[in-house]
């Protein structure tokens, strides 16, 4: 295969927008998109609620400036303010652009794009297409990429960056259909592989493949990870599966009730009530549960999300997917009874450290979407800001890579390097004697993370978490791949994904242990307040000799001074 100008890893919203923009920037470039699932299956499709943009369709007095402030405040002042400016300023433009190219949106009475209220936003500015916004955006982007003739390598699993000195030569990936290890020599690589919150396993709302592959690949190549300790727990996961009931349900007027039938949010966020920011609502629910005001059940303690007062018509027209999911996965029809819910690991604020143009510290390597961390979400992402992030910064990364591809000589990846990668992968298939089951390890990883590196964190718990992860990494060495075939070896893929989650879990726990304060989604019961004097900074986790080493990076401030965050 001849070298590519740009290889994009990931066919979610970030990867596809990057591909489109790169083609637009320079149609002569040779661009490939690799994805371990068909692009339309990417996790972007799961986003139900919507994407924020100060269009002012619903609230005429909404402004970009208010969106900026809400985002900075929501992120507990850890977001870089110049990056937030870009995010919110580009928002109306990119939503209109999507609309102009054919994305379906629900509509207001005056035929403009419909908007609804969303957590942490002063005014209703979340643009939506009933409760399938991510799905329709992803469909549109995929369709547009097909139209433009983007070259897709579907069901290719990225394994590693091939690095020479301070720069990347391209990517090594496995063709899942044949099991062959293939080289993608490239001038530039954009990593857009989505989030890592699936490491919490069945206490997570994420797809099975949100295992942080791109981050792990970059991390092992020596690229720093930023703010990994910030994992957002969504307040309303279904009790049994962790699957998500969108914030849209509360946006439309749903109540959170404890077992005494009390709308307990009155105690935690008097004004915003159920529409307080996610971290606050999650903590409130967890507190209710810890203080014995939850409902007990064999599948865990939970509280109620009550929609019954909204009426059957509204639920059917505005929240049909939610109704379907409650019925399929909990056996509950929200028209008739409240939905059993509890917080679920949902979004990774942390990720590959990039500048505002998507560049990482390694020449020729860029990152975007949930995989990257520009940082626009700081310590806590606002609902509806992530779809926006992947679109805006996916586009920027695509543009930057297209402009800079010419700067780099094409890489060359040797046969020897491919063979070495092949052997490394195959070695796990023939281990003898006692071996470990990957399924058990995965499960245990999720449990220790939820318990010790979860919503409420504390020194001794975190130490336990760190020790558990180290032990799991040791045991991982004995994991056996049972399926020894080449064709579509999903067993092998799942083992490789587990390896990625284990490597990243270490950075999450290390960051959480180091950060001795409470900020945004990171709550230390032993350090309950925000400590701006010592901790108003990003953490950077870098792999040095196989171990995590922590560093730091200042937060870029701007117009907004540090303030206490109250709702």
């Amino acid at each position: 295969m001849k070298p590519f100008d740009i290889v994009i890893v990931g066919g979610g919203g970030a990867g596809l927008y990057a591909a489109m923009e790169a083609m637009k920037t320079n149609p002569a470039l040779n661009i490939a998109v690799l994805s371990k699932v068909y692009p339309n299956r990417s996790h972007t499709s799961a986003a139900q609620g919507g994407a924020n943009a100060a269009l002012g369709n619903k609230a005429k007095d909404d402004t970009v400036e208010m969106h900026i402030f809400d985002t900075i405040k929501g992120g507990d002042y850890l977001a870089d303010q110049d990056a937030v400016n870009v995010l919110c300023t580009e928002a109306p433009k990119i939503i209109r652009e999507l609309e102009n190219m054919g994305t379906p949106w629900s509509r207001m009475e005056d035929n403009t794009i419909a908007q609804r209220p969303f957590g942490g936003a002063t005014l209703p500015r979340c643009c939506y297409c009933s409760d399938k916004t991510g799905h329709t955006i992803l469909q549109t982007l995929y369709e547009q990429c097909l139209k433009k003739g983007v070259i897709f390598f579907n069901e290719y699993f990225a394994l590693k960056l091939s690095v020479s000195g301070s720069r990347s030569k391209g990517l090594i990936a496995m063709n899942m259909k044949t099991g062959r290890i293939e080289a993608f020599a490239a001038k530039t690589v954009i990593l857009a592989t989505g989030g890592y919150a699936k490491m919490y396993w069945n206490r997570s709302s994420n797809a099975a493949g949100n295992t942080g592959d791109g981050q792990a690949i970059a991390y092992r190549a020596g690229i720093p990870m930023k703010d990994m300790e910030f994992v957002q727990f969504h307040p309303t996961g279904l009790r049994k599966s962790g699957l998500l009931i969108t914030e849209g349900a509360r946006g439309e007027g749903g109540y959170l009730l404890n077992k005494d039938g009390e709308r307990f949010m009155a105690r935690y966020a008097k004004e915003k009530m159920e529409l307080g920011p996610r971290d606050l609502v999650s903590r409130s629910i967890e507190t209710e549960i810890l203080q014995g005001r939850g409902f007990d059940s064999p599948a865990g303690t939970y509280i109620h999300l009550d929609l019954t007062h909204l009426g059957s018509d509204l639920i059917k027209s505005r929240l049909p997917q939610i109704r379907e999911m409650s019925m399929q996965f909990e056996g509950v029809d929200p028209i008739e009874e409240p939905i059993p819910i509890r917080p679920t690991a949902h979004y990774s604020m942390g990720g590959i450290d990039t500048d505002n143009f998507g560049r990482t510290v390694m020449d020729g390597v860029y990152a975007a979407g949930e995989c990257g961390c520009v940082s626009v979400h700081g310590a806590n992402r606002l609902g509806g800001n992530s779809l926006l992030d992947i679109l805006v910064f996916g586009r920027i990364a695509g543009h930057t890579a297209a402009e800079e591809a010419g700067k780099f000589a094409p890489g060359m990846i040797s046969e020897a390097e491919l063979a070495e990668q092949y052997d490394a992968i195959r070695s796990g298939m023939h281990s003898s004697g006692r071996y470990e089951r990957y399924g058990e390890l995965r499960e245990e990883l999720g449990q220790t993370l939820a318990l010790n590196v979860g919503i409420y964190r504390e020194s001794s718990l975190l130490q336990k978490g760190i020790a558990d992860i180290a032990e799991l990494k040791e045991r991982f060495k004995k994991v056996r791949v049972i399926d020894t075939s080449d064709v579509f070896n999903t067993n092998l893929i799942q083992v490789l994904e587990l390896k990625n989650m284990l490597d990243l879990a270490e950075t999450v726990a290390a960051g959480a242990f180091a950060r001795q304060e409470s900020r945004g989604s990171h709550t230390r019961t032993d350090f309950p307040v925000r400590d701006d004097a010592n901790w108003h900074k990003h953490t950077l986790a870098t792999m040095v000799n196989g171990n995590v080493t922590l560093g730091e990076k200042p937060v870029t401030m701007g117009r907004y001074e540090l303030q206490e965050r109250t709702y």
Partner: protein, 344 residues
């Protein structure tokens, strides 16, 4: 995962999953493996397969991703019917199972087999490309991002349901024409084509329609309704197929193919005279079956829409006219019911 499956004592039974196996590297032909596991009420087919893979046989291969019925990865045939493994409850399947406590799991049909329950989706993607399943905006790229198109909720509702499609290929697997002709456009692609064609922002309507009325296109559909009945998102796919056909007739003259010419004659006859006149029926040239399959359902729908009285029974007897009458009656019923269910 099994810990929770084991927890409840109530409502648990041993279920045998009879799984289709085929590894092209070693097997000359497919076979079935039986796995018997304890399953509790409330567990899905996908969770059962995950359990089998993690605890019994790591080599059982299938796709799954979101586990929430939104990504479309896990389409497979469960006791013969194409559906999503992640939203299908084991107990629901057992309730209708012919063999007690046995669930047969097979790959989707009509797409090339890769391994076990995994089929190749590329042919479907190729068809999406062939039929331009994208909006080609009337707005030049350089203009984009400045102003919204103003679209009524009414227009949005025209394609709202169609955009629910998650490309799981269940309908593709159930399509009766695809079994015989792999080149047939496919129900999901017809659905997507329709969605694009009713979008006022799109500029490719005529081009797309021209492709749709060619061989292997919209006129090949037999109106068997199987796609619609099996759609995992309950999308009224037949509305899209009818819609494209009506559209093709209304745009007649632009793109004349034998299908649309006959359809044109047939339709105008009904429209003008409110009855079927044997002489102008396309039965002679195309045969009874073609006419019934291709034109009657649409005719019925148009009649219902315009409140034209239904055509009187045919007076002259022609070859096959008895069959024709019988099917005509059935079709009328079908269309009526169909109409009712869509209004819900």
């Amino acid at each position: 995962m099994m810990a929770s499956i084991d927890q409840h004592k109530e409502g648990k039974k041993d279920v045998t999953f009879r799984v289709f196996r085929f590894n092209p590297q070693v097997d000359s032909k497919p076979y079935f493996d039986d796995y018997t596991i304890p399953v509790e009420r409330g567990v899905t087919v996908l969770r059962s397969l995950n359990y089998i893979k993690e605890h019994i046989d790591g080599s059982v291969s299938f796709r799954a991703f979101c586990q929430a019925g939104i990504c479309g990865s896990c389409g497979m045939r469960v006791n013969g019917l194409s559906q999503l493994a992640c939203t299908t409850q084991v107990w629901d399947v057992l309730a209708k199972s012919r063999e007690p406590e046995v669930i047969k799991v097979e790959p989707l049909r009509n797409l090339p087999l890769i391994k076990d329950l995994i089929v190749d989706m590329d042919p479907l993607v190729d068809k999406m490309k062939h039929y331009s399943n994208w909006v080609d905006s009337i707005m030049p790229e350089a203009q984009m991002g400045k102003k919204e198109f103003l679209i009524s909720e009414e227009e949005f509702l025209r394609y709202d349901k169609a955009t629910d499609c998650i490309l799981c290929a269940s309908c593709v697997s159930e399509c009766s024409i695809l079994r015989a002709n792999k080149e047939y456009v496919s129900p999901a692609v017809l659905l997507k084509s329709y969605r694009m064609n009713v979008d006022s922002r799109d500029s490719l309507h005529d081009h797309r329609l021209a492709a749709l009325v060619q061989d292997h296109g919209v006129w090949d559909c037999t109106h068997c309704y199987r796609c619609q009945e099996s759609c995992v998102k309950s999308i009224p796919i037949m509305d899209a197929i009818h819609g494209i056909r009506e559209d093709a007739i209304e745009c007649r003259g632009k793109k004349d193919t034998s299908g649309s010419k006959h359809a044109e004659a047939f339709m105008s006859d009904i429209e003008k005279k409110g009855k079927l006149v044997e002489a102008t029926l396309p039965i002679r040239t195309n045969g009874v079956v073609w006419t019934l399959q291709n034109l009657l359902p649409m005719a019925m729908k148009m009649i219902m829409k315009r409140r034209t009285p239904p055509p009187p029974p045919l007076v002259k007897s022609a070859k096959g006219i008895k069959v024709f009458r019988e099917m005509f009656r059935e079709m009328t019923e079908h269309v009526k019911q169909d109409h009712k269910s869509h209004k819900k």
